[in-house]
């Protein structure tokens, strides 16, 4: 996504550029037109002066030199005239040997004509009747100095325009940044939300952002509520199914059935299957997955309780070792994390002789969880079975645990990897690599 800042700058720059150029050009053009009209009236006066200077002489018309402006005498002075009547053609001395182009029709020539010495001439042709003769007087003035000063004005205007543009852009940047500060705050809060450092967005935001923040908060609360409700419903369903199942399992072991060993065995097997399937599916349905961005697992607060629960269930002879950096927080739902660690450790405790070790580490890519025991381990050839056929191995050995199957479900839901190895203690080492959620959030 492009940033709002850049988009606003681009928009502003193009609008200012177009408007500045149009206004500048139009005002220059208007000014030049006005100036030409003023010059035209000057030229008009000049041509009338010339007309007055024409008087009757001994050989027809003659020009009274005394009445002419001295500028017409000095060569290339920038002021020129030419007078034509009949076959006679007079030029001002200032033209020297150059010709003054005669406009095809009376009035100000719309095009500047080339003059001597690279001058550009503004030419006015006026036609009169003087002493019974048609006289055409062309008066010209050098336009180059005016053009040069216009160019200079244009350059200065352009420079000032660019300067103004830069100032405006800087001011706009400051304003936009100030106006977008609440957005930036919200962005940071969402990042914190992803990292699990907060569970709600701050509701004290400008009017424009309020619906967004309220909606996000509402969604968060709604998701949390939904999760709680569905977990509760699953708990109730589990309760409703598991209690009668316990009765059936107890009945299948009844001594009265001892006379029918085949029936008893089939009953037990089928009940076992129901129990396995139900346990796994109910557990899978309970997973929060990535639903709650604010969820967090506080290792320091939760692990001692988990380890003492395991100690209680498996007896005091097992030594449970915890290796985790203090203050470690994992960005996943507490119940999911407890379920995963509980099943991993439970599985390890079932196999261990005396020691089970849990280590939690944060790496640049995420988190690594390792659980190992000093039991017999799993031969390398059978390790694939655990993965390819889900709970198979676990079903065979523990009878009622769902252990590694559930762990696998959780790791899959989190997009992690799970490996089985032989650990330093001699038994099975389960290594789980989980991607860090904060990174996902910032790169997304």
């Amino acid at each position: 996504m492009r940033s709002i800042q850049r988009r606003l700058s681009l928009g502003l720059v193009s609008v200012l550029l177009i408007a500045g150029l149009v206004v500048g050009q139009v005002s220059l053009w208007l000014f030049e037109t006005g100036l030409q009209r003023y010059l035209e009236s000057g030229l008009q006066n000049e041509s009338e002066n010339l007309l007055i200077a024409l008087s009757r002489g001994p050989q027809g018309l003659q020009l009274d030199e005394r009445r002419l402006s001295p500028a017409y005498q000095r060569p290339f002075s920038g002021h020129y005239f030419s007078i034509e009547f009949g076959d006679t053609h007079w030029r001002s001395r200032s033209l020297w040997d150059a010709q003054l182009p005669r406009p095809s029709q009376p009035g100000l020539d719309s095009v500047l004509q080339p003059g001597p010495e690279g001058q550009m001439l503004l030419v006015l042709r006026s036609d009169y009747q003087r002493l019974g003769q048609a006289v055409s007087i062309s008066v010209a003035q050098d336009y180059t100095p005016i053009r040069d000063s216009f160019k200079q004005v244009q350059r200065i205007g352009l420079g000032m325009g660019v300067l103004a543009l830069i100032v405006v852009l800087l001011l706009q940047r400051v304003t936009v940044r100030r106006a977008l500060r609440p957005l930036e705050t919200a962005r940071k809060q969402i990042a914190q939300l992803q990292a699990g450092q907060r569970s709600q967005l701050d509701a004290q935001v400008p009017l424009e952002l309020e619906p967004l923040v309220t909606q996000i908060n509402h969604l968060l609360a709604h998701t949390e509520d939904n999760l709680k409700r569905s977990r509760n419903a699953l708990g109730n369903l589990g309760h409703a199914l598991k209690t009668p199942l316990a009765v059936l399992i107890s009945l299948a072991n009844d001594p009265r059935l001892a006379a029918y060993p085949q029936i008893q065995n089939t009953l037990r097997e089928q009940l076992e299957q129901i129990q396995q399937r139900m346990g796994r599916e109910l557990n899978r349905a309970r997973l929060a997955g990535d639903a709650l961005p604010g969820a967090q697992f506080d290792a320091d607060a939760e692990l001692p309780g988990l380890l003492s629960t395991l100690g209680m269930i498996h007896g005091e002879h097992l030594e449970l070792v915890l290796k985790a950096a203090p203050g470690l927080h994992l960005p996943w739902d507490r119940e999911d994390m407890l379920e995963m660690l509980g099943n991993l450790l439970d599985n390890a405790c079932k196999w261990a002789d005396a020691q089970v070790e849990l280590s939690l580490n944060q790496t640049p890519d995420g988190y690594v969880i390792e659980v190992q025991d000093d039991g017999p381990g799993i031969p390398e050839g059978e390790r694939d079975q655990v993965f390819s056929r889900g709970t198979r191995l676990d079903e065979q050995t523990s009878g009622h645990g769902l252990g590694l199957g559930i762990v696998r479900d959780i790791v899959d839901a989190w997009g992690g990897e799970m490996q089985l190895e032989t650990g330093a203690l001699g038994g099975l080492l389960v290594r789980i690599k989980l991607p860090g959620r904060t990174q996902k959030a910032t790169t997304a």
């Binding site: 072991n253 407890l338 509980g342």
Partner: protein, 222 residues
């Protein structure tokens, strides 16, 4: 050993009652959380099996209130809520063990046996050993100097109680309270008869009588 079973599902409670009674436990059964809250404290139980989904008050609240009022009886939670976070909550509320439904009857029975031994400072091993006697709880017989001695159900219950409370003076009323459930008629003469049977089978010195106080088991052995 007298147990309290709190379970609102009647068929399961029936099964559990039958199984536990077969193992020589005197079991009282309640189905309501409020009754359990009261009776758990008023009667001297040796162990309580508590379901969590109870009518009235939830099992977890019952347990919390018991513990808050200083009840030290071992409590085994029996529940369909099998997630680890719920297990941890159960432990924090003061449970001593946690069995999830559905379960195998033997598993529950072994847990009950282990919990009772743990509560009385006995190691968890196949035979209960005390004062030179080895009690086989599964087969309800006792091994005395390598010779196996058969016991009746009543003798087994009495001997197990003695062996879990060695060198303690136990009055007849105390014994009656812990060997019979709330609905059985308690007759102290019957107890005397069973004590005499045990003495005949295992030797007089095994159980001494302290006049006006009660019986003491294994006092001479140490």
């Amino acid at each position: 050993m007298r147990l309290l079973l709190v379970e609102d599902h009647v068929p399961l409670a029936d099964e559990l009652l039958a199984g536990l009674t077969r193992l020589g436990y005197a079991v009282d059964w309640l189905a309501d959380g409020r009754d359990a809250l009261y009776q758990g404290q008023s009667e001297p139980y040796d162990l309580i099996i508590l379901d969590l989904g109870l009518p009235g008050i939830s099992g977890l609240d019952v347990l919390k209130q018991w513990r808050a009022q200083g009840l030290a009886t071992p409590v085994l939670i029996l529940t369909a809520r099998s997630s680890w976070s719920e297990r941890i909550d159960g432990l924090k509320a003061g449970a001593d063990d946690y069995v999830t439904k559905p379960f195998h009857p033997e598993e529950l029975q072994l847990r009950v046996q282990a919990l009772l031994r743990r509560a009385h400072g006995q190691p968890n091993q196949p035979l209960l050993k005390c004062a030179g006697l080895h009690l086989d709880e599964a087969r309800q017989c006792v091994i005395n100097d390598g010779a196996e001695v058969q016991l009746t159900a009543a003798e087994f219950r009495l001997l197990r109680y003695f062996m879990l409370h060695p060198q303690q003076i136990l009055s007849k009323s105390h014994l009656a309270e812990h060997l019979y459930d709330g609905e059985t008629e308690r007759d102290s003469n019957v107890l005397e008869v069973h004590v005499n049977h045990l003495r005949r089978k295992l030797g007089r010195a095994v159980i001494e009588t302290r006049r006006g106080q009660g019986y003491i088991f294994g006092a001479g052995a140490q």
